[in-house]
Amino acid sequence: MYRVALTAPDDFDGWRGAARRLAAHDIDPADIVWQIGSDASDLFGDRPPPPERPEAAFTVPRAFVDLAQTATLHRAPERFALLYEQLRRIRSQRGAMDDSASPLLRRIDMLAKAVRRDMHKMRAFVRFREMPESEGSRYVAWFEPDHHIVRANAGFFVRRFTTMRWSILTPELSLHWDGDTLNEGPGASRGDAPQDDPVEAIWKGYYAAIFNPARLKTGAMLSEMPRKYWRNLPEAALIPQLVAGAQAREAAMIAATPRSPADDSPERNSVRAWQRLRDEAMGCTRCPLHRDATQTIFGEGPVDAPLVFVGEQPGDQEDLAGRPFVGPAGQLFDQALDAAGVDRARAYVTNAVKHFKHERRGKRRIHQTPDAGEVQACRWWLTQELSLVRPRLIVALGATAARAVLGKAVTISRTRGRPIALEDGTEAWVTVHPSYLLRLPDEAKRAEERARFVEELRTIGDRMKAAT
């Protein structure tokens, strides 16, 4: 049994010297014990190290030296043995460093990767606190790394903060830079570092302000800044309250949107916004329906209407006229509103789909029901319209409109006749589309359904009057 005593946990040179000599004698890895320091509590009866064999000198690829230098810093005790095994493999097998899929090399790669990450996190998460001293300020940090990386990482801080005087204290080792030379000291404890720095309050203010509460992604934060680092990061103390406040803040932002303060009057903003939206919709190509239709039929009515009617899609006459609800179904709709005592001039009228979908048969263009994809594509416009108008009540006429308003397919017969609360608090109603009444062949049935439609409109009208 050979025992190799390394001077420190990151003693790469010690490992390299011993490993070279042992490998030159082809010593089996199982016969070597790698240890840090020379506490010779001896169980095995050590053999003296084999002599140097200059005649058996060998070279190894640069890639291995780099990898070994990094992997040596890992805290896993088996790192020295694994590296020695890989060294033996390099001597016996050509291209052993290229064979990434070998379990041994993969294992060592993983150690090196963990070390590199730890070094990177140290460069990121060291936080200096300024400490007045007689010769000027000294910047002192307390940091707890996972691996034996502190000495190897010193160069980075020297290159970056050459003109400052600084110290980095860690449990294993301390670094002190005086502007000219780097000194090492023994390990320290958290209490040895200064406990505060007035600039930290400003930094925390920055951290809180740069955070966007409208987009909470704590998973992404945690994967890059795991909790184990939090206790040494002053700004991390704010995280729980920022997260807790985030949803509430976003909701408040939306609720506080001014509807009509003096400088944001409907004339100046909402109407202008609606006109621009309409102009943009005129060139809409979100789905293929625009190709065969004459024009986009956008909604119309007061932009501050308390009541919105959503139909299915423009028909043949609407497509030509450029306005919603002017064809036969629109006329029936007007009559029904009249009978129910609802003023159409106070309502905003629009469609779930804004282009006429049809099939040509001879000279006639026959209406076709839009599919879910088309409704979904067009829903963007409807959502914009609704967010501008912000009605108290939305009435979906027919199944397509119900799908667009509620975001899912529903059965008219089972949802009609009662209020449905939408996510944002708006009240929605579902009823039939007036064209359904036109299509009923049976006279009596038509009259019955029409009466029911008028009755529902009356109820909705009453709800609106009660709400406004």
Binding site: R127, T163, W203, I210, F211, K217, A377
Partner: protein, 414 residues
């Protein structure tokens, strides 16, 4: 109004800057402070010094010089008609703040932008002055990113490039219609004109440095831009096409995508609902595919949903592309060329390099591939290895369902 403290100003001006997604501090020239009088170094790889709960990294001190603005862009919290509280830093205040944060290792440097006050030139002069003072008065060697004002005098922009590592001009909205509607004072042609001039300046300095070793460096980390996603009607296909043409024409280092997010006191022109954050993420992934995996914009477009023109949200674009092009799979991991291996969902650039090196020495089995990648289950249906051949798997109709992650409850935070 009482005078604001530095901290109050910082909170206002950082809050105003946070809608800019870019925070990169990488890819610039290597330098350090060993022969200097100040502090600072850049070593290629950027460092993220903290992460906010929105998942974004904090690498730079990202602030505006002032949030007053003569423009009235609807998506912007700082637009003239917004009732947000206004503040303004002096150049010295920004310099002091940058240095005192940098010395404590909070940041990699400064990302400075500004609302437009008085004129484009005046504002640009102020931005350049901060960068000049950091570099010349304090010998600061950290990272500086300056937002460039498209309408400013090209001479000023050239000065900015001599001090800054990176310059950027935001394209703002992917569609010209959207820009007209939401940023009536801005103009797509002028923005792209400024980008084109920047590229020409970078090319000139590059030529000069090839001939004269001491020719000054000009924006060594190049230029980038940002687009807001979900505020206009552009779908993913249009956004990707736009990004791709920007990469080609102006040789941008990065295009950033920022999901529109509700802002306090918004203009009512804007949608109030935000697009899903996942959409932004999928765009980032597809951008990555274009820059590092050899996909072109048309190929990404073929992975979008034909009805909506958007990338699927539940699976990543590489998997979506593979499912739409099943005829090229399975791919033989022991024979296929690099470009083909890069098309396998779940195989990254590093894993592919490992496979190429490793297969010179051994015939790869499925276990070998598993050791080189994070998740073999996702890759398996698309690969042939010595001991593995997916039978009919790529033809299964339910392949998508098998590979898509199960629907998850919304993320909760303890």
């Amino acid at each position: 109004m009482a005078r604001l403290t530095i901290r109050e100003k910082l909170e206002i001006l950082a809050d105003a800057a946070k809608y800019d997604a870019s925070c990169a501090s990488s890819g610039t020239a290597k330098r350090d402070s060993r022969d200097g009088k100040g502090v600072g170094s850049t070593e290629g790889m950027g460092i993220c010094h903290a992460y906010a709960p929105d998942g974004r990294c904090i690498s730079l001190l990202k602030i505006l010089l002032t949030n007053s603005c003569i423009l009235d862009c609807h998506y912007c919290i700082n637009r003239q008609s917004s009732n947000v509280r206004r503040a303004r830093f002096t150049a010295d205040e920004v310099v002091d703040l940058t240095l005192s944060f940098y010395r404590r290792n909070y940041i990699e440097g400064l990302f400075l932008s500004s609302g437009i006050i008085r004129s484009a030139d005046y504002t640009m002069e102020q931005l350049v002055e901060v960068a000049r003072s950091l570099r010349e008065d304090h010998d600061f060697r950290g990272y500086i990113h300056l937002k460039t004002i498209p309408d400013a005098d090209p001479g000023l922009i050239r000065q900015a490039g001599l001090h800054a590592d990176r310059l950027s001009i935001n394209i703002e909205l992917p569609s010209d219609d959207g820009l007209k509607r939401l940023a009536p004072d801005k103009n797509a042609a002028r923005i792209e004109g400024a980008m084109g001039r920047l590229r020409a300046d970078m090319d000139d300095h590059g030529d000069a440095r090839r001939s004269y070793r001491h020719a000054p460096k000009f924006a060594p980390a190049g230029q980038s831009t940002q687009m807001i996603v979900g505020a206009d009607q552009a779908d993913d296909r249009a956004i990707i096409a736009r990004a791709s043409s920007l990469y080609d024409r102006h040789r941008l280092r990065r295009v950033y995508y920022s999901a529109f997010s509700p802002i306090p006191s918004p203009s009512t022109v804007l949608p109030l609902r935000r697009p899903p954050l996942m959409r932004e993420h999928r765009l980032y992934q597809s951008d990555w595919l274009m820059r590092f995996y050899g996909y072109d914009a048309g190929e990404i477009a073929s992975a979008t949903d034909p009805a909506t023109g958007c990338l699927p949200l539940d699976i990543d674009p590489k998997l979506a592309w593979a499912l739409a092009h099943r005829d090229i799979f399975p791919i033989d991991v022991n024979r296929a060329p690099r470009e083909r291996l890069l098309r396998v969902p779940g195989l990254g650039v590093k894993a592919v390099d490992h496979i190429l090196r490793s297969r010179r020495h051994r015939q790869l089995r499925l276990d070998d591939v598993a050791r080189l990648t994070a998740s073999i289950a996702k890759i398996r249906p698309f690969l042939i290895a010595v001991d593995w051949r997916p039978t009919m798997l790529t033809d299964r109709i339910d392949l998508r369902a098998r590979l898509a992650p199960p629907p998850k409850q919304l993320e909760m935070f303890v």
